[in-house]
């Protein structure tokens, strides 16, 4: 057999792993449906039930709401990454991969990229529903690309957090439960209502947690407004969370492998 160094095949390995976990997703479409249905239900609820009573300062509440809904969808989407990683590590296939001369981290990267793709799918589905509900944006190609970039960065950051949970959890429930607080984070932010109406303590938290700056940035980009300082705060949060989570996830991964 010819001797091959593992490094030169890093991308082949990742491609195979990505293909594998994408197949898993497309063979269990229910995961994508569950991930999109709750945010869509939230959107319907807030627009058609609470929307009339909420004073967001805009005519089009769907426009106001959409960024927060997208973040919620991503937060629940990544819990499936934790779940898939957890089940993988438990199974014999994980041991097979680790006794093969392939890149150590390819399996992990395969899951991370899969998370990116599947979350992109649910984001697109939710935007389509929002369009039917009256969402309109005057933004051009560049702002949309910027929105895509920020959502991708947010997904990556949370995916690495999910990887820590998936790799270190003791039970399946533990692996996916960590995302509940993440899903609720948008509620205590400017995603649904402006922070002005909140009591002081809550307001301080809401205005300084990552979701608010990300929501504000996306909202500004989609309505063709200058994003100002928010975009840098949002980027700093995403990159910061991603780096820290990446380091811990890799540490947890090495412990497992």
């Amino acid at each position: 057999m010819e001797t091959t160094t593992t490094k030169s095949h890093f991308f082949t390995d990742i491609r195979v792993m990505l293909g594998r976990s994408m197949r898993h997703i497309f063979r269990s479409m229910d995961t994508i449906i569950t991930v999109t249905i709750t945010p869509i239900a939230m959107m319907l609820l807030f627009v058609y039930v609470f929307g009339g009573a909420i004073q967001s300062g805009t005519d089009n509440y769907v426009n106001y709401l959409l960024p927060g809904i997208l973040l919620m969808a991503i937060a629940s989407g990544i819990s499936y990454t934790a779940f898939r990683l957890f089940t993988d590590v438990q199974r014999g296939i994980f041991e097979r991969f680790h006794t093969m001369p392939i890149s150590r981290s390819a399996l992990l990267w395969g899951h991370v990229l899969t998370s990116l793709v599947s979350n992109a799918i649910s984001v697109v589905v939710i935007i389509l529903v929002a369009l039917i509900m009256g969402f309109r944006s005057s933004a051009g190609v560049l702002p949309w690309l910027a929105v895509a970039g920020i959502l991708a960065l947010f997904t990556l950051a949370l995916t690495w957090v999910a990887a820590i949970a998936g790799l270190s959890a003791k039970t399946v429930d533990g692996a996916s439960a960590f995302s509940y607080p993440l899903i609720f984070l948008p509620f205590i932010s400017s995603a649904f209502v402006p922070t002005d109406s909140m009591p002081k303590v809550v307001r301080v938290f809401a205005e300084n947690q990552p979701v608010t700056s990300i929501v504000e940035t996306i909202r500004a980009l989609l309505s063709n407004q200058p994003a100002g300082n928010d975009i840098w705060v949002a980027l700093a949060w995403c990159v910061g969370i991603m780096l820290v989570a990446y380091l811990f996830a890799m540490k947890a991964y090495k412990r497992r492998a």
Binding site: M1, T3, T4, T6, H9, T12, D13, V16, G19, R20, R23, H24, R27, S28, R91, G92, I93, E95, R96, F97, H98, T99, M100, P101, I102
Partner: protein
Amino acid sequence: MKKAIEVRELRKSFKDTEVLKGTNFEVKQGEIFALLGSNGAGKTTIVKILTTLLKQDGGTATVNGFDILSQPDKVRQAISLTGQFAAVDEILTGRENLIMIAKLRYLKNPREVADDLLERFGLTDAADRKMSTYSGGMRRRLDIAMSLIGRPQIIFLDEPTTGLDPEARIEVWKIVKELADSGTTVFLTTQYLEEAEQLADRIAILHEGRIIASGTLPELKKMFPTAKVEYVEKQPSLEEIFLTIVGKKEEN
């Protein structure tokens, strides 16, 4: 003859439990080596250490001439593991599983490799079914087929027939014999004495973390008092009865 595996004073503890207490043995190239021991004797721990999944606490081991601690990548290029629990992807089909491994072995024609193996292991009809629909025997056959991709020199089979019915077990035995005939070294663990007797060129008995006896079957037999001649009416074993009634050995 060249040594495929050499293990010297291997030690491993989990928390307070000392599982391996200085284990020594060697496996020659091309032979079927059976590690025999009861549950909890440390067989799986040895397999995991030799296949680079676990690191030992003490002692040394080489696989295909490479030290497992300092050159794990070289070791991984020479081996394949069929673990105690089927190392297959449940959601993929049998064919997809094989193609995936062929791609990870960087073979040029993953599809052909998969087709050949499906044919050889009598799984062509089930090729496009999800693994989760496979029976225990079929799953084990595919599992072993996956291990053969890329022609590793040494194959580790950790209790390959545990949980299989008698027919499936005999099929696995046939596969293992064919493997050894083609020159592959087979490292097998088992708790079934009969399995070791049927397959192994050499047997080592692992007990409480140490090898207490090893050698060929005749050598092991010599360690015990000379055979007595007794006249007994030979009754067919239940296994023989079962196999005669079911009447199939070759059919898949």
